[in-house]
């Protein structure tokens, strides 16, 4: 992951002296990653933003107790993941269905107005993937999202989820097995068509 823990430490020191705008720099640096992780976990963009916002507020309040043994980003992810778990528990108790964000619409919402066939194909696969990732059992989803979408190694995932790296590894393996079964056709089609287009170019 492209982070600079030393830069984070300097910003945190300013925050601890009461410089709230400095904290805004950390928000800018990590907000997209935290929102995207939460979106994969809870499946709804607005809920994901609320969770991310709450995570940043809680992290700020807890900064005086942050000892710097872990990276700030890992600590922040841990707070956000705990909020995702609590959110899903509440939703489960309320008997609400799991929403799945529409990836195609998402591309359009983010100001991406490129609607070439390549983009449409990617948007379709993107949506299918979001849906299948959202269907994974929670613990497998957590391991898969942190490993493959956030690009963390197993030790980092272990530090955030507080389970042994070997357990995280097994959960990621199982997530991949489930996704291989469910997504093999969609992924094969995507790569085949993409490879065909590359050859034509």
């Amino acid at each position: 992951m492209d982070q600079d823990p030393a830069a984070d430490t300097r910003v945190i020191a300013r925050c601890l002296k009461g410089d709230l705008n400095a904290y805004g720099d950390l928000v800018d640096r990590y907000s997209a990653r935290v929102i995207n992780m939460a979106l994969m976990m809870v499946g709804d963009r607005h809920e994901a933003e609320d969770i991310a916002q709450d995570a940043f507020v809680r992290a700020y309040r807890a900064l005086p107790g942050f000892r710097g043994r872990a990276r700030f980003s890992s600590w922040l992810y841990q707070i956000a993941l705990n909020l995702c778990r609590d959110h899903l528990k509440r939703r489960s108790r309320a008997g609400a269905a799991v929403p799945v964000e529409d990836g195609t619409l998402e591309g359009l919402h983010s100001g991406d107005d490129d609607t070439t066939p390549d983009t449409i194909l990617e948007a379709e696969l993107s949506e299918t993937m979001r849906q299948e990732i959202a269907r994974l059992p929670y613990l497998y989803r957590e391991a898969f999202v942190l490993r493959h979408l956030q690009g963390m190694d197993y030790d980092e995932v272990s530090a955030i989820t507080r389970v042994a790296a070997d357990t995280v590894r097994v959960r990621a393996y199982r997530a991949r097995e489930l996704l291989r079964e469910r997504l093999a056709n969609a992924v094969d089609t995507y790569w085949r068509e993409k490879a065909g287009k590359e050859r034509v170019k």
Partner: protein, 73 residues
């Protein structure tokens, strides 16, 4: 046929070059390895990251000011 565990270790780049070559020499194992790699790598390449909505930073800072008046409004 290569074990599933070794295939996953290959996806994670945890096998030696010699072990990886051994897997790739077997067509069935190679095909399965490619599938697992595609499933692992495609989400990072294809799933479109969302951008924070306009004003997200300000909402966070306002949230902090509301709950922590000492934070310098």
């Amino acid at each position: 046929m290569t074990s599933r565990r070794d295939l996953h270790r290959a996806v994670d780049g945890e096998l030696s070059k010699a072990e990886t070559r051994r897997i790739e020499a077997d067509p069935l194992s190679r095909e399965e390895l490619e599938r697992l790699k595609a499933v692992s790598q495609a989400p990072g390449q294809v799933v479109r990251p969302v951008k924070p909505s306009t004003g997200f930073r300000q909402k966070v800072l306002d949230g902090i000011r509301r709950t922590d008046p000492k934070s310098g409004a």
